[in-house]
């Protein structure tokens, strides 16, 4: 009876255990030709060190979460460099996950902003600037689920260029909605 209870306890413990491992990607946004900078709202000025970027990653576009820390654009090794404007040259980001490992296919997105401490706050801050890259599929680095030899992390540099936009003030949004509603009513009549 005692053995049975020990076995049951072990089985329950086993069933509630989730294999945790790290998957990794490299927070380096410049591609080989440095042809994918991120621009300010004018579409031509590359983001400098007053702008921040954050990587989001997950299994698919619907499960993106912020990973690692936000970093400044236009810096390399903590030093501000104008030739690095438009890019983030950071280090490897490790993410603990129960389902994604080295060799797993997943996605990432780069989100950039200025005027708030996080991208989410910037989204609701009038006058802040925000923008995000397309969602890109990558094969993550790290130790594979089967325990094979570790895979080096890929750079987060598969996206193309994009430009930021200014978060409009609420009155502007309301006016826009009011106008849209007016047009809708007029068309119905």
């Amino acid at each position: 009876m005692k053995i049975k209870s020990i076995v049951c306890t072990a089985l329950v413990a086993l069933s509630t255990m989730t294999a945790k491992a790290d998957y990794q990607l490299n927070f380096v946004t410049a591609n080989g030709g440095e042809s994918n900078p991120v621009f300010d709202v004018d579409g031509t000025t590359r983001l400098n060190s007053t702008f921040f970027g954050q990587l989001y990653a997950g299994a698919d576009a619907g499960s993106l979460v912020a990973v690692g820390s936000a970093l400044q654009f236009g810096t390399v090794g903590g030093l501000v460099r104008s030739d690095a404007n438009g890019f983030i040259i950071g280090n490897t980001v490790s993410v603990t996950s129960g389902s994604l490992f080295g060799g797993s296919s997943g996605v990432y997105q780069l989100r950039a902003w200025q005027g708030a401490s996080t991208y989410e706050l910037a989204q609701t801050t009038f006058g802040a600037k925000i923008g995000s890259s397309s969602v890109q599929t990558v094969t993550f680095g790290g130790v594979p689920s089967g325990g094979g030899a570790p895979l080096t992390p890929p750079d987060a540099n598969l996206h193309g260029s994009f430009a930021l936009t200014v978060v409009p003030e609420p009155a502007t949004i309301a006016l826009g909605l009011f106008g849209a509603a007016g047009l809708f009513i007029r068309r119905r009549k």
């Binding site: 491992a21 790290d22 990794q24 490299n26 380096v28 410049a30 080989g32 440095e34 390399v76 090794g77 030093l79 460099r81 030739d83 690095a84 890019f87 040259i89 950071g90 280090n91 490897t92 490790s94 680095g141 790290g142 130790v143 030899a149 570790p150 080096t152 992390p153 750079d155």
Partner: protein, 212 residues
């Protein structure tokens, strides 16, 4: 003699003598340089000499092409730490590369990069810790040879050495079983690193002297 096959291209023996009242004591340092080639793509390499400062910023020139990167493997948590070279600087300039550690080097260009490592040949009792699971290592001395027969890597049944084939961008593993290697005993070159997968933690210890 085979154990002393040092591949330092230019080896300068710097001998310093100190005299005590009882006897004459000689301290001999072997200072030299080693050229290590990094072909396009990924390679597992190592720093074969103990330099004055063993960081990526000190070991590599600032003329590297953009997007060169170094990846070290942290055995404790199974993750890589990296430093990427862009616009004349490293993202993590203080990332250390000491003899005995292996590291991935990414050469994003189409040309082979040759880096000259300068420093002392390590001598004395040299110990490289090996964890259970994967450890990215190299010989602490600039010597090529069979990984166990010549370089003294301790190996047990079911343990595996993984080299990285740059041309194929893939690992080639050889596992030790009852006195034999599944793919032949791996040969490790000077400045080359490799993964060893151990069933239990141990140490890779060698006594080495250039005068032996």
């Amino acid at each position: 003699m085979k154990a002393k096959a040092i591949f330092a291209a230019g080896l300068l023996m710097a001998a310093a003598a100190a005299q005590s009242t009882a006897q004459t004591v000689f301290s001999v340092n072997a200072v030299g340089f080693v050229n290590v080639n990094f072909p396009p793509g990924f390679s597992i390499a190592s720093n074969p000499l103990e330099g004055a400062t063993n960081t990526v910023a000190a070991l590599f020139p600032t003329s590297l092409p953009n997007n060169c990167a170094v990846f070290k493997f942290n055995t404790a948590n199974g993750t890589f730490s990296s430093s990427t070279f862009f616009f004349g600087a490293w993202s993590n300039p203080n990332l250390s590369l000491v003899p005995g550690e292996g590291f991935f080097f990414r050469n994003p260009s189409v040309n082979t990069i040759t880096n000259t490592f300068v420093g002392n040949v390590k001598q004395g009792t040299l110990t490289t810790p090996l964890s259970a699971g994967f450890t990215l290592v190299s010989s602490q001395v600039p010597q090529s040879g069979l990984v166990t027969t010549d370089l003294g890597l301790p190996i047990l049944n079911t343990e595996t050495v993984f080299k990285f084939n740059n041309a194929l961008n893939a690992y080639s593993g050889s596992t030790f079983f009852f006195g034999s290697w599944s793919g032949g005993e791996p040969t490790i070159g000077v400045g080359e690193g490799f993964f060893v997968k151990k069933v239990a933690a141990s140490s890779w210890t060698r006594s080495f002297s250039v005068n032996q």
